[in-house]
């Protein structure tokens, strides 16, 4: 079966929906999502979205330039400054646009949108709706999509991107309902497929965040950028690693070690708990590693002094998570927390128009790397990125389609797609024919533990080299796996089989990038090279798929007005 569309957007989270809402209305647009759009991981974002509105009494002197500076400094100077400026400038109109679309932001006295302090920000500029900001923004954009009658293919997993001669021609997708592989011809494709959090054993991400969009694009020939930069969130609930928002510290929460001390005083004396995430996560892990944690595993996030009223009003979701998943009430007890993988700064290499080097292929949101977050993302900037760059992707992909009108050979595209589909079919047939003793989940968990142990918060040459070798071993075993299920009707094992290949690619690129980058910058901390080295490493890592192996090259960082300086908080 072949389906035809002008623009195909893959992913129904914030970036995908923002793109769909900004796509030209006269185009034939469809959003494909492997889950119902409201089940996307964007729904779990909690703390807020940054924009220099200046509504907070202490934020009167805030401006988009200061927001851009904080973003660049937070990135450890690896973000492209033109991109950071673009995002922070667009933040203000985008925020008002979201409010007009129906997002029920919390309010300050006087009725203006409320803002709270967040890590690494010079002013309180994070707009929020209690601690459910992602939920309300995702629902609002979905509601607008219903209003605009946007078309969705729900529960289709895109499996292949068809790229030939530097141009994107379409996609293949697995329809869970029918169990069939469907060929899709498109004039342009936008990937808004999210991050790869579950490549790590401990992650705050949804279970569906396996990163297959990134891996698929990579294997189709699209370069990846800065993949070694992986954000670990300082505060995830012990056990299930559910996110405890940075907003909890923004509202005044303390981090406490087993001596009852607010240990951030030793790491970031002026900003304390509100230093950027890379610094706080490392501080917590250092406390734990040096025996000042509890049971060798966690420290406490203490909210008790905020009082019952503030916790119930500003952090109701956090309280609910603690009650149900931690068995404690943060009004009465401190929360046991530990760092966990949270965000991927790196991703599909795109420019400020969200265009990749492949013609007709765009990417936005966490799966992409523009780059605005550089080596470390600030809290409150990820939802901002999804909406700002989702919109940009929708606009530029639409313009591209209008420019190429009629110049694309439909016959040629059809041939390429059929060729890709035949290859996929033979791979699936092989999986059904193979007889392996173990299923894909065994390798899946092995990879996730490996990445956590050897490519985590603290990195060193020996462990990284070992990890790289083991990833290649796991890949070898993956080639001989078989599918245990005997049919493809709602087959979630098949989904994991397909996506696991991308997890391997992502793991390999992260590890290679981390091994090559002999410095410490933002989230990438090398115990054997503990300082930043601007002379050699103030540059983006670009990974290309070359004959089955990633190949690394480097690219200059765009610097406009903020000269790199030492990063102190």
């Amino acid at each position: 079966m072949i389906v035809d569309h002008d623009l195909v957007i893959v992913g129904g989270g914030l970036a995908g929906l923002a793109a769909a809402l900004k796509a030209a209305p006269d185009l034939d647009v469809v959003v494909i999502s492997k889950v119902h759009p409201l089940r996307s991981h964007s729904v779990a974002a909690q703390g807020g979205i940054n924009a220099a509105l200046g509504n907070h009494p202490e934020g009167k002197d805030d401006s988009w330039e200061k927001h851009a500076f904080d973003t660049v400094k937070g990135s450890d100077y690896l973000s492209d400054q033109t991109a950071a400026e673009l995002m922070c400038q667009r933040a203000i109109p985008v925020l008002y646009e979201l409010e007009h679309l129906g997002v029920p932001f919390s309010r300050f006295p006087g009725g203006v949108i409320a803002q709270r302090p967040f890590g690494g920000a010079g002013f309180p500029r994070t707009c929020y709706a209690a601690d459910r900001t992602g939920l309300v923004i995702l629902h609002t954009l979905y509601e607008q999509a219903l209003r605009r009658k946007v078309r969705f293919y729900e529960e289709w997993l895109v499996t292949n991107l068809v790229v030939r001669e530097g141009r994107c021609y379409g996609l293949l997708a697995y329809d869970l309902h029918s169990g069939e592989i469907i060929s899709i011809r498109a004039k342009a494709v936008i990937f808004a497929t999210g991050g790869y959090g579950r490549v790590y054993q401990k992650s705050t991400n949804a279970l569906i965040n396996l990163g297959s969009g990134i891996g698929m694009a990579f294997r189709a020939g699209v370069p990846l950028k800065d993949m070694e930069f992986v954000q670990f969130h300082p505060t995830s609930l012990l056990g299930k690693n559910i996110l405890i928002t940075e907003g909890a510290r923004g509202e005044g929460g303390y981090l406490i070690n087993n001596q009852g001390k607010r240990f951030m005083a030793d790491y970031a004396p002026s900003t304390m708990e509100l230093a950027p995430r890379d610094i706080v996560a490392r501080a917590i892990q250092t406390e734990i590693n040096e025996g000042r944690g509890f049971e060798g595993e966690y420290v406490y996030l203490d909210l008790r002094h905020l009082g019952k009223e503030k916790i119930i009003k500003r952090l109701p979701g956090i309280r609910e998570i603690c009650l149900y998943f931690g068995g404690l009430d943060p009004i009465e007890e401190p929360i046991p927390i530990q760092p966990a993988q949270h965000y991927s700064m790196g991703g599909i290499d795109v420019d400020e128009n969200c265009a990749s080097p492949i013609e007709g292929f765009y990417a936005a949101g966490e799966c992409s790397c523009v780059s605005v977050h550089g080596a470390n993302r600030l809290g409150g900037n990820s939802m901002l990125e999804t909406v700002v760059f989702g919109q940009i992707a929708g606009r530029f992909a639409s313009e591209y389609i209008k420019d190429i009108k009629g110049s694309q050979s439909d016959e040629k595209a059809l041939g390429y797609i059929q060729d890709e589909a035949a290859r996929l079919q033979s791979k699936v047939n092989q999986w059904l024919k193979n007889k392996s003793k173990r299923n894909v989940y065994h390798l899946f968990h092995r990879l996730r533990h490996l990445m956590m142990d050897k490519v985590g918060i603290f990195r060193e040459k020996k462990k990284l080299a070992e990890a790289l070798e083991e990833i290649r071993e796991i890949r070898h075993e993956y080639r001989h796996l078989s599918l245990w299920s005997d049919c493809l009707h709602y087959c979630q094992e098949f989904i994991t089989m397909m996506e696991f290949e991308s997890m391997l690619d992502i793991a390999e690129v992260i590890t290679m990038g981390a091994l090559a980058r002999e410095e410490t910058r933002g989230s990438h901390y090398r115990t054997d090279f503990p300082t930043r080295d601007d002379q050699h490493w103030l540059k983006h890592t670009i990974a290309r798929y070359n004959d089955g192996r990633p190949q690394l090259t480097y690219r200059e960082v765009k610097i406009t007005r903020y000269e790199p300086q030492e990063r102190k908080y």
Binding site: H41, P104, V112, A206, Y324, S485, Y490
Partner: protein, 243 residues
């Protein structure tokens, strides 16, 4: 760790004539959620077991199902909170089974579309955003907690009668907009819920309140709509000029 028995309703309409129960024994931590146990069973015992899941933190609304007779989210039901080591798991009622624990939510989403669930503000917006009193905004916070998991729809005895009732979630969503100070939808537009499939269908037995994992209390919204509807109708009567 302890040995649990999971008795799970299985059904593949492509293969099976009728649904049947299958038992799995699995060593689980009492701290695990039912969703963890289901994932373990799929990964280790039967990869064909189908169920939806995403966030594992009760915010995405994927994993509504019936656990020991109670409609709830599998991710938030911790094994030790169950009385028994026998865990009986069934798909959400009032909806067609697609496979095993996956149900077809099409009628649920259709009902949502019926109420036009999007903000309908004035043509022109204040450039720096609306000024809304914090208290007024907080009044809709109860309803924006809804994650559209469909638990209330499944529990609703009126939906079970199969006469096209919109169900609690869709009506609560409508109330969220009717109460939003920015929303200017005319009364004539939402008056279409003035029928048995709309707000008058509710039996006020509050099964939706019992099962809602997010404490939305959808029937509060339905009652709110009823009150508002009556007030609007009276206004209409009094505004009518004598001929």
């Amino acid at each position: 760790m302890g040995k649990y028995v999971f008795r799970i309703l299985r059904f593949d309409p492509q293969k099976d004539k009728t649904p049947y129960f299958q038992e799995f024994e699995y060593e689980s931590s009492p701290k695990d959620a039912v969703l963890d146990a289901l994932l373990n069973i799929r990964e280790n015992l039967d990869p064909t077991l189908s169920f939806r899941h995403s966030c594992r933190e009760a915010v995405c609304g994927s994993c509504g199902m019936v656990i020991n007779g109670r409609i709830t989210l599998a991710c938030r039901t911790i094994l030790e909170s169950l009385k028994d080591k026998l865990v009986i798991i069934e798909p959400l009622p009032n909806l067609e089974i697609q496979k095993d624990l996956m149900v077809d939510l099409t009628p649920f989403w259709q009902a949502l579309r019926e109420v036009e669930p999007y903000l309908q503000p004035a043509e022109s917006h204040p450039p720096k955003g609306y000024r809304i009193d914090a208290k007024q905004m907080e009044k809709i916070y109860q309803f924006i907690n809804c994650i559209l998991c469909g638990c209330c729809y499944s529990a609703c005895p009126v939906v079970a009668r199969g006469q096209g009732y919109f169900g609690p979630a869709a009506l609560a969503k409508l109330y969220r907009f009717v109460r939003d100070p920015r929303d200017l939808r005319p009364f004539s537009q939402w008056e279409k819920i003035d029928k048995p499939q709309g707000i008058w269908g509710c039996d006020t037995v509050f099964r939706c309140h019992d099962v809602c994992p997010k404490d939305v209390r959808p029937a509060d919204g339905i009652e709110g709509l009823r009150r508002k509807l009556i007030v609007e109708k009276l206004k209409k009567v009094f505004r009518r000029k004598p001929k």
